[in-house]
Amino acid sequence: MFLYVDPGSGSYLVQLIIAAVLGAGFYFKAGWNYLKSRFGKNKHEDDPNAST
């Protein structure tokens, strides 16, 4: 298995979050804003489920 591309740190975490968000049907602006404030710049998050 030669996954030679660097997936980028955090991209696995991001995909988990996005998949969860899309699955939960978050269509409201409030939802986006909440996510953005929760995962603002320079914060480290290990728990992707905290927001849902």
Partner: protein, 458 residues
Amino acid sequence: MIPMLQHNILPSSYRDPSGFVFASDGIFYRQVNAVYANDYDLLTNGPLYNELIEKKWLIEHDEVNGVDDPRVYKILKPRQLGFINYPYEWSFSQYRDAALLTLHIQQLAMSRGMSLKDATPFNVVFEGSRPIFIDTLSFEKYDPTKPWVAYRQFCESFLAPLLLSAYQHPDLSRLMSIYPDGIPINICASLLPLSSRFKSLSTLHIHLQAGIKGPANQSTGKPPAFSADKLKRIINHLTNGITNLKLSQKISTWSDYYSKTILQDNYLQEKEFLVSGLIDSIDFSSAVDLGANTGQFALLIEKKGKGVIAIDIDPLCIERLYLYTKENKNRVTALIADLMNPPPAIGWNNKERRSLLQRITADLVLALALVHHLCIAKNLPFEHLAQTISKIGKYLIIEFVPKEDEKVRQLLSHREDIFMDYDIMNFKSAFEVYFDIIESKPVGNSGRTIFLMKKKNS
């Protein structure tokens, strides 16, 4: 690591241990290393390869006699491409179609138990109006418990340039020549306007991603399980979002070019008649149209059954030309380039991706309604233009636009006329250093002259 057994390996083909592209006697081959054998068999023995070929999504190949070395599994000879083009030369819709092609391939692959291990626009090339995926070794066995390894690459090298083009300006996709691995997420995020935070495509895949820095070590503890369903949601969201992306409407400077010409009706008809006659008098199989504008003359040549590369600086001209050729599937490959600063050779050693001038060779070069844009507007001496064009092709059809012309007067209206040598006699002598002039004809009453020239000693 597998030693590079061939001498003429493509300078860009070093990243993937599964194999590489090399050239031998002017033919391009792809070596498949033994480590990739299982994935290659899964691709070709299963239905996926045939489906991809049938849909004309993937470039087809033949297997040829291999090397007697246990580290080498197979040697493939893909169908040869006449001309390679790069993402920073594509218009918005071309880029979007390349992105959608990649996503559709990923969706089909997943349904057949495989997945793309990279998602870079350098895996796509435009052949005429059609994008085609060229990296046969990009497929690997799909593991549904893992997220997509190529996701970040897709976001940075497809989504970011598309969003910047749509929200700000189509020229921004040229950033891909500075960031060939993709525009970094945080840079893209900083360049997008506030309105991009109210659309899920940009918010989730760019802004959210920019805001998250993962744990320094990704393998601490057990990673939460992913699933095929989760990945499908992401791919679908990207696909729908990108399908619905649109450029904000702007009026192109040059697409109104012909409508502003004084002797419009007569001029265009006369020019087309002349050019058509000149084309019929020479023997050629491919052409490049420099400063193609609406593509009228590129399309004229294409109708005569020849492949054409149409180049213009205006992204909206190329956009319109591409959309036209897409509808009427044909062999015009429309691309964006500034002839005063054409895409250079980039990458490691400045050799991975060749410059535009290195890639375009054609039997015939068209340079209509172009000379004054370079030699007046950009101060380019005739000699420089003649020399560079002579390296591209054998025949040249070029239009001289005199100083009295309305367009030139427009160009000079706000600046000092320093062009003492800009006249048809100097034009001819500059070009006669490299070309023999076969014919010259005035274009109606426009004052312009069309020349047919042939490179000396060819």
